[in-house]
Amino acid sequence: MSDHNDPKVVPNPWGSLKQFTPARIALGRAGISLTTRASLDFQLAHALARDAVNIPVDFAELEQRLNFMGYQTLTLKTRAENQQMYLQRPDLGRLLSASAMACLQQTAPISSDAVVVVADGLSSKAIEHHAEPFLSLLLPELQQRGYRLPPVCLVKHGRVAIADAVAEHYAARLCMILIGERPGLSSPDSMGIYFTYQARPGISTDADRNCISNIHKNGLDYEQALKKLLFLLTEAEKLQLSGVSLKDETTDTTPNHLQKRANFLLD
């Protein structure tokens, strides 16, 4: 399907702007509507994103790699037993299954400073692509700060608040969860990180959390995300809180040449 040289299609002569954003800009039009090509492009992306929601996570490989790097892991499940249940019952995705509880109880109740949890969320691809490279940066930093860490917990069918249960079990002050975000048309593999200070199940709310979202190839890169997370950890330790009262005040790391281009509308 090509719209080129089609007299019924009105192209937009500002295609050069596409270099700045993955957004669907300068699409052109047929009359005032989407062209056939743009319309089918969208349908294709929607089909891919719909399917991404339903691909089950495979933690085995992530476990293997983390173990190879010398980190212990623990694989847990929530009470959402399947994908349909997970989508319709967020409450069950915030509770550990009976077997997972038992599994946690069996691990030594070492008191810890920080817990790191990984959950599939709504995109297993996000975890598949980004969890291991990000953890390979994050975990050494946490160790370097002298934090005592329990095993990295990998949770299937988990919602953000599932990390609270893990933090409580290990009596950890600092709670981080890497989770697959809802798949977008243009980014089916976006990962988010939620950080909570003194997380407690049933007590911590969204207002107590800080979120770093859009970690993927067109969004935040691993270094930027790490910088933000470490800033939040440091500040949370000082202020003894997290959430809306803790502001991310990291400075911008966009390279200068992009900064300059930033003002093409304003130069």
Partner: protein, 462 residues
């Protein structure tokens, strides 16, 4: 009270709160909360009982206790009984008849708005079909102003939403220009920042200010950061036009958002002090959505639609320029499919308008909901027929930061063309002046870049 006997069954709904929930049209969030009707018969039985409840009863029986919830206190304490007088003798069922009748003119509806509570409005919506929701909403007229005039008859405004996954200013500017060249952006140019970062917020605020100034665009800007971040930005002297905040219908849910009425008031006063509006001072932009309270486990046993409408009482107090129900954003656990999303969008629009709010709708869905573009076309068209105040304009309907599908610049042009709707007058004039629209309010035949923006684009290719 609240009882009905049919030939086979007897129902006793006990409380008004329970009756409201059981009478609510089917949606997944109410089942998740365990408050929805267990079958169709129970739902219709509840609707029969609800139709006989006097509107006055809602002033006597608070659905969330007055002592424990500041949203309830706001609703009761600021109720205008003089405005309520013309309909105060009606039951919910009679009220529906009145709304549909010729007595409910635009003037009459405007006059009673402050006398209606969210619960009264939610109740009547539960016994209204989609065509009723459309017919009555269409008669409501809510006009607000900042740098242009929003909500006039036969106008449909658009929020230009040029989000970028890393808040990259060039990326934002690219989508922004694309939108302007498609005639989008009269409601607001509003960016959701990827992170609630003060520096990013300041940078985006300054950039939007500079663009609006440089190109003399008769519109307003907003960076949709948390209200406390926006307050910090105001303290640092940033050019804040509209203050944004997500709001909900219970105190507990608002707590979970990190807000309360005092904080919103403080933010509004700070923005008013900047005095940046030229035609008016409606300086707040609120977003809502069914299911947000339950999502925070703060629904207080209410059904999600009633909870949603209570959020409009919060909005109304602060005289917003725009209120946006982001209807399909939250996901299938609250609104399962296209059918539920469509009805919810039209309910929210109707309820907001009846309460006197400048109600727009983010016609949208996520990739884990059972919905697609056809569903969005139906809601978009019906909302516009109902006189919806504004919709979103997202490049290609694909928000690359928030990861959901909304309406595109093309969608706005479609609905304007088929229904003969126009942008806000001041913005329309700007579009025509720069040759983006022709005299018939349509895009030019050929897609030339207007002289206004030529130099910026030439620099890029040069």
């Amino acid at each position: 009270m609240y009882k009905i006997h049919t030939t086979d069954l007897a129902y006793d709904f006990k409380t008004l709160r329970n009756l409201m929930a059981k009478a609510s049209p089917s949606r997944s969030g109410d089942y998740l909360a365990g408050v929805g009707a267990v079958n169709n018969l129970e739902r219709v039985a509840a609707q029969w009982v609800l139709a006989d409840v006097p509107l006055k009863q809602f002033l006597n029986e608070a659905l969330v206790p007055y002592e424990q919830d500041e949203v309830t206190r706001l609703i009761i304490d600021e109720h205008d009984s003089a405005a309520f007088a013309p309909v105060s003798h009606l039951t919910v069922g009679d009220f529906r008849n009145w709304l549909l009748s010729g007595h409910a003119t635009t003037e009459a509806l405007t006059a009673i708005a402050q006398g209606l509570t969210p619960e009264m409005v939610a109740a009547v919506s539960k016994i209204m079909r989609i065509q009723d929701l459309i017919l009555v909403a269409k008669k409501c007229r809510v006009i607000t102003r900042f740098r242009n005039t929003i909500g006039l008859e036969n106008r449909l405004s658009t929020r230009l939403q040029p989000n970028h996954p890393a808040d990259n200013p060039a990326g934002v500017a690219a989508s922004l220009l694309d939108g302007l060249l498609y005639g989008c952006g009269d409601a607001v140019i509003g960016i959701n920042p990827a992170s609630d970062n003060l520096e990013a917020t300041l940078r985006l605020l300054n950039m939007l200010h500079d663009v609006i100034e440089r190109y003399q665009i008769p519109t307003q800007s907003c960076v949709l950061a948390h209200v406390t971040t926006t307050l910090k930005a105001v303290e640092q002297g940033a050019p804040v036009d509209l203050v944004f905040q997500s709001i909900a219908g219970t105190q507990k849910a608002n707590d979970s958002f990190g807000i309360n009425l005092n904080l919103l008031n403080e933010a509004r006063l700070a923005a008013l002090e900047l005095n940046r509006g030229t035609l008016g001072n409606n300086c707040m932009y609120f977003e809502t959505g069914q299911g947000s309270a339950l999502s925070a486990n703060a629904h207080e046993g209410l059904d999600q639609q009633t909870c949603e409408v209570r959020a409009y009482a919060v909005a109304r107090k602060f005289k917003p320029l725009l209120v946006n129900t982001v209807v399909g954003f939250i996901g299938p656990e609250y609104l399962y499919d296209g059918k539920q999303i469509i009805r919810a969008g039209l309910e929210d629009h109707f309820c907001g308008k009846l309460l006197g709010l400048p109600m727009g709708c983010d016609v949208c869905y996520t990739n884990h909901a059972e919905a697609d573009q056809d569903d969005m076309d139906m809601l978009l068209t019906q909302l516009a027929v109902a006189g919806g105040t504004f919709i979103m304009g997202v490049p290609g309907a694909d928000d690359v930061m928030l990861n959901y599908q909304s309406t595109s610049f093309h969608d706005a042009l479609y609905v304007r063309q088929v229904l003969g709707l126009r942008p806000a007058p001041e913005f329309e004039q700007w579009l025509q002046q720069h040759g983006i629209f022709n005299a018939d309010n349509q895009l030019q035949q050929q897609s030339d870049v207007p002289a206004l923006f030529k130099p910026s684009l030439q620099k890029l290719s040069g």
